[in-house]
């Protein structure tokens, strides 16, 4: 079986400007929004960070163009990581009986 994973080179500079722009927006968002609005601050900043991390993984690490098997390996790790953090947060936040 022959497989082809060759792909057209993405526009790396476009990704770079998105990453730089999102970093500026992130810093501005955290400094403008009052820290009393904790939920909006956390949701917004984690959202920006998730977009930036996805851009790096998909385009710079070429995950978008890789085989599905590699995507499944990485996704499994991320799911396990999310479970680990969620359990920890639940333990810290939820009231104890």
């Amino acid at each position: 079986m022959t497989t082809e994973t060759e792909h057209r080179t993405p526009n790396y500079m476009a990704i770079f400007w998105w990453l730089a722009g999102l970093t500026i927006v992130e810093v501005g968002y955290s400094s403008i929004l009052p820290h009393s609005h904790k939920a909006a601050l956390i949701i917004g900043l984690v959202g920006f960070a998730a977009i930036k991390a996805s851009l790096v993984a998909l385009y710079f690490m070429h995950l978008r163009f890789e085989r599905k098997s590699l995507g499944i390996i990485v996704a499994s790790t991320l799911i396990l990581g999310c479970i680990l953090v969620s359990v920890g947060i639940g333990e810290a936040v939820l009231p104890r009986p």
Partner: protein, 209 residues
């Protein structure tokens, strides 16, 4: 039935290598290593989140840390990630001169990042503020402890990356990489992008929230 595939990864544009996954072995090895690193940093970031949620008092990071300096450092690391991927794209086109240039720029970017982090640490440890009269260090608070542990481990990863990139750049100047054979650049590039990705998350969680 064992599936045998011919890998045509980024580093093997013109040479064929038999693998059971269709992915070059060294690239697969790096991805498995990076998955273990994801769990390592998840443990650190998870600990930070849990400690912060569980603590009744936690300083606002912007009152202790230098956000503009670190934002600039984040920008530098993103730039170095771009130059790394441009180095790979250059050798895939057969442009060895551009590859050497971009690898050197990546090395420079990583070194600047480490230098700025060193300056940040030195200032935190030695500047006496009203909140931290003896300086902000791992002993003064839970925040200090987890801050230096997490960013210190990331800095160590950057240092390892800089050493590896220096090695790869040296090989590039010796003419060891060609359009047909350049898997080493892609493999270390994956590590470098991962270090950048982790910093994007750390910067948000530790410095901005």
């Amino acid at each position: 039935m064992e599936a045998i595939a011919l890998a045509h990864g980024h580093g093997h544009a013109h040479e064929e290598e038999y693998t059971t996954t269709g992915i070059p072995h060294d690239k697969m090895g790096m991805w498995v290593f990076l998955c273990s690193e994801v769990m390592f940093f998840t443990g650190l970031i998870g600990s930070y989140i849990v400690l912060r949620f569980a603590s009744p008092f936690w300083p606002q990071p912007s009152t202790v840390l230098n956000i503009p300096l670190t934002a600039m450092n984040t920008f530098i690391l993103i730039c170095s990630s771009v130059t790394m991927v441009q180095a790979l794209a250059a050798i895939q086109r057969g442009d060895a001169a551009k590859m050497k240039l971009f690898l050197s720029l990546t090395l420079l970017g990583g070194s600047i990042f480490l230098s700025i982090q060193g300056v940040e640490y030195w200032k935190l440890l030695h500047e006496h503020t009203t909140h931290y009269p003896t300086g902000f260090n791992p002993h003064v608070s839970l925040f200090g402890s987890i801050f230096f542990t997490t960013t210190g481990f990331h800095g160590f990863h950057v240092l390892c990356g800089v050493i590896c990139i220096a090695f790869v750049t040296g090989k590039a100047f010796l003419g060891k990489y060609t359009q047909a054979h350049h898997q080493g650049i892609e493999t270390i590039g994956l590590y470098w992008h991962f270090v950048d990705l982790v910093w994007i998350v750390l910067f948000t969680i530790i410095y901005l929230i």
